[in-house]
């Protein structure tokens, strides 16, 4: 069998899953599309393992591990989706915007305080590691907030 057949099929399945992840609105349908992508990768692993005739059969072992990890992932993912549905009343991912950044700030003082630190951030990033200590008074708290 040509290796091109399973490889092309896996690529097309992966892109189908990619479309589903990007275009679907319901979180459970997004999880289904993720499963399609994982299956495409598994098909590639098996095909290349059979082609290479690996003595350890690393491809097949990794496929089994991927299947088990995917089962764990779908369990945890569905538990999270159910929890979100219980708390928010919806499982549509584009309505869950509690962490979204709004365009207009709530307080103007925040905007004035935020602007210099942002420029200091970009300056210190552009100037390298040594310049990071210059504007440290302004940048450090915001960095801490951003990473926390």
């Amino acid at each position: 069998m040509h290796l091109a057949y399973p490889a092309v099929l896996a690529a097309l399945l992966f892109c189908t899953g990619l479309y589903g992840v990007l275009a679907r609105r319901n979180a459970i349908l997004v999880l289904m599309s993720v499963e399609l992508m994982l299956n495409a990768v598994n098909l590639n692993l098996v095909a290349f393992d059979v082609w290479l005739r690996d003595a350890l059969h690393a491809g097949q072992a990794l496929t089994l591990f991927t299947i088990a990890v995917a089962a764990a992932e779908i369990g945890i993912g569905l538990a999270i989706v159910l929890l979100v549905y219980r708390n928010r009343g919806t499982s549509d991912i584009d309505r869950l915007r509690a962490l979204a950044e709004t365009d207009k700030p709530t307080e103007p003082t925040d905007a004035r305080a935020g602007a210099p630190t942002d420029t200091a951030d970009t300056e210190s990033d552009g100037a390298g590691v040594a310049a990071g200590t210059d504007g440290a008074g302004g940048t450090r708290p915001t960095r801490g907030e951003a990473t926390a």
């Binding site: 990007l22 275009a23 072992a61 089962a71 538990a79």
Partner: protein, 196 residues
């Protein structure tokens, strides 16, 4: 040099115009699998999407069988078709997904998603075909490579430690799912699950 090498390669490997029986079967099952996957990501009925996913995953199991990976095919049937899809259906039911045609199954960025997917598909297929158009998998030589005996030997001889680590991961996932789906108000989860 390149033309001579290409000619030798072309002489060594069978062409695409005279497919073997396994290849024809692989192509047919692949078309069914891909069609089911596409229907599964575009269907507006959520339960139908989950059921088309069964067809796609079952088709992939048949492809594993055709690639002589027998054990993985049955694991695929057991875990994906048997449990993952059932979990997804239960998830759809518990989130009160509409049974009929839901008009808002796709979000607003559908054209962008289509463009990204088509671009990725064209790129990947071009690269893969260019790289592997003359690569031949010899399925007959040396017997099947994925029988239960072979898989068991390699899994419990060379991959024991990852296997055990994976069992810990599954246990952690199980405990995590239970903890996540418990109620936080002090009462036990089972009774409330019955009430709801």
């Amino acid at each position: 040099m390149s033309t001579a090498a290409a000619a030798r390669l072309a002489a060594d490997t069978p062409g695409f115009l005279s497919p073997t029986g396994v290849e024809v079967l692989f192509l047919l099952v692949g078309v069914v699998t891909l069609g089911a996957a596409i229907v599964s990501v575009t269907s507006r009925r959520l339960v139908h999407a989950a059921l088309w996913l069964v067809v796609a995953l079952g088709g992939i199991a048949v492809e594993y069988l055709l690639l002589s990976a027998e054990f993985i095919a049955w694991v695929q049937v057991l875990i994906y078709v048997g449990s993952v899809v059932v979990l997804l259906l239960f998830g759809l039911m518990l989130t009160k997904a509409p049974m009929g045609r839901s008009p808002d199954a796709d979000s607003g960025n559908r054209p962008v998603a289509l463009a990204v997917a088509v671009t990725a598909a064209v790129t990947l297929v071009t690269v893969v075909v260019d790289a592997f158009h003359s690569t031949w998998i010899d399925l007959d030589d040396g017997g099947p490579q994925g029988t239960t005996r072979v898989t068991g030997e390699i899994l419990f001889r060379h991959w024991v430690l990852p296997f055990e680590a994976l069992s810990l991961l599954l246990l952690a996932a199980l405990v995590g799912a239970i903890v996540l789906s418990r109620r936080k108000d002090g009462r036990t989860g089972g009774e409330n699950g019955g009430e709801r």
